[in-house]
């Protein structure tokens, strides 16, 4: 079957959706997706971010489809012609969808741990309006504790239901789902039961926003101050292939390896994710590559950094040893200032 998206043609198998075909072509024409996740069955069709214009239905029936179609759930037909990025109608629709998604999303990116790798942030950067027209009060929920490893911020949730599908498909007895309806719909563990399944941590990776974040990484660092490395270890529960996010010599966070569409390549177990934060536990393969315009690129290093040795006196190159300690935060015991006094936060306040 031949499909043409934004003027680029590709041969696809029957049963391929437009979004999958667009991802095969790649580049700018790939529609953004907030709820569709290729590794989860039945995902997609909820967020309407991936709307495309079908200007020719198929070879047999060349009439255009009257409405914009959600590309993640619309199958390709032979001879179909699709306009994605090139259509002003699609751009306008995506802008509106972004505005709707942001209606109830709090503006707390400075606090949120997802900032810097957030799909909604990327979406609103590309399609959003810099000014909000929403003057009503945003919907808020009571904070809820759903376990020692995962932090739930229901206010940030956009109800993509990816995490529910993770709970459905990866874990054997689902303890978490969507409660209530309409504006009150929220993700919950039904009876506030802790999620203790071995693969529940993957909800963090699939969450496109900061609604589900790693409690062991909570407020530890910002994403862009960490350096991602590919690492693996022998794990009897999962593949053990992960990305470790390091700050100096310290592993601050472990996640799955995410591809260009921010989908994990393989799901990892909670043991790898939460319990192994020592460098000795991991075999570090090397630094990960990331997108050129990623915020992580601020600390760019795509090649292996090797220390340049110059035959000069060490003091001239690196300064005195005693001056080192405050320059690198890794050495510092954060409960103590350099002069040895404990920090008294009330002293300043």
């Amino acid at each position: 079957m031949k499909v043409t998206i934004d003027g680029q043609s590709i041969e696809v198998e029957p049963g391929t959706t437009i979004l999958q075909a667009a991802r095969m072509i790649g580049g700018e024409l790939v529609p953004p997706a907030m709820c569709y996740y290729s590794k989860l069955k039945g995902s997609g069709g909820k967020c309407r971010c991936c709307l495309v214009e079908v200007s020719k239905g198929s070879e047999a029936d060349p009439r255009p489809m009257p409405k914009l179609m959600a590309s993640c759930v619309t199958g390709c037909m032979d001879g179909m012609e699709v306009n994605s990025k090139s259509s002003p109608r699609v751009e306008e629709a995506r802008k509106s969808v972004t505005e709707f998604l942001l209606i109830n999303h709090p503006l707390d990116c400075p606090v949120c741990d997802q900032a810097g790798e957030c799909d909604l942030q990327n979406l609103s950067f590309e399609h959003g309006n810099p000014k909000s027209r929403f003057i009503e009060e945003k919907r808020t929920f009571e904070p809820e504790d759903i376990g020692p490893n995962i932090q739930l911020h229901m206010n940030r949730c956009i109800l993509c239901q990816r995490c529910v599908q993770v709970a459905d498909q990866l874990t054997d007895n689902r303890v978490h789902g969507v409660m209530d309806r309409g504006d009150h719909a929220n993700i919950s563990t039904c009876i506030s039961k802790a999620i203790d399944n071995e693969f529940s941590g993957n909800m963090i990776d699939v969450c496109p926003v900061g609604a589900l974040t790693d409690k062991t990484f909570r407020f530890k660092s910002r994403v862009w101050f960490n350096k991602p490395y590919n690492a693996h270890r022998d794990c009897d529960k999962c593949c053990g292939k992960t990305t470790v996010w390091m700050f100096g010599g310290e592993i601050q966070r472990v996640t799955g390896r995410k591809d260009v569409y921010h989908e994990v390549e393989e799901f990892i177990c909670n043991g790898c994710r939460f319990d192994h934060k020592n460098v000795e536990d991991w075999t570090i393969e090397g630094p990960r590559e990331f997108e050129k315009d990623s915020v992580i690129n601020q600390n760019n290093y795509t090649q292996k950094l090797e220390k340049v040795e110059i035959a000069t006196e060490k003091l001239i190159l690196e300064g005195r040893d005693k001056d080192h300690k405050k320059i690198s935060m890794a050495e510092i015991d954060y409960n103590e200032k350099i002069d040895g006094n404990l920090i008294d936060s009330k002293k300043n306040g």
């Binding site: 990116c109 400075p110 407020f219 862009w224 405050k326 920090i343 002293k347």
Partner: protein, 183 residues
């Protein structure tokens, strides 16, 4: 006529110096002295380039950027949430911070649920460009008009300013709130 290289004026301003004898009037130097004094006296009536510091102070440039300050809001709570954007934007990599979660009994101290437990600016690295102020989404860091940029000191560590030196004093926050209410 052949001209040697010594006779060519390369700058075009070569002058022949005359060794003419001075006349009697010229040898008294009276005219020359009066001429010179005239130039001096003329300057008495010109606009002066100096001012009487410290009684008079020159006007600051509106874009003057002095020492940093971490602001508090009207209720005296710290604005900074340790989002790290100032550190990211800093071209001199002078800013480091460590975030912490606000406890339930600290709501009067910090505005958001996250705050900067440690906030340090290395004043030896800082170039006072003001990009941190521009990047700040929470109106927290400001470059003041303080004339003291960095006080002199002996130890390198003394130039790393922590929250004790950067956070706005509570009295100032209260005064600001009063001023705002009065207006």
């Amino acid at each position: 006529m052949s001209t040697t290289i010594q006779n060519i004026s390369l700058s075009g301003r070569k002058k022949e110096v005359s060794h003419k004898e001075m006349s009697f009037l010229e040898s008294l130097y009276l005219v020359a002295i009066v001429k010179g004094l005239w130039i001096t006296i003329r300057h008495f009536f010109r606009k002066k380039v100096t001012i009487h510091y410290p009684e008079q102070v020159r006007q600051m440039s509106p874009v003057y950027r002095g020492q940093h300050m971490l602001k508090r809001d009207e209720q005296g709570r710290e604005n900074c949430t340790a989002c790290g954007l100032c550190a990211l934007s800093c071209p001199a990599e002078a800013i480091t911070m460590k975030a912490a979660e606000r406890k339930a009994d600290e709501k009067h101290l910090y505005r958001e649920e996250k705050y900067a437990e440690i906030y340090e600016i290395n004043m030896l690295r800082c170039i006072f460009c003001g990009l941190c102020e521009e990047a700040c989404p929470k109106d927290a860091i400001y470059l003041t008009t303080s004339k003291v940029l960095v006080p002199s000191n002996y130890e390198r560590e003394d130039f790393i300013f922590g929250k004790d030196k950067l956070v706005m004093p509570l009295e100032m926050a209260m005064k600001n709130a009063q001023l705002k209410n009065a207006n």
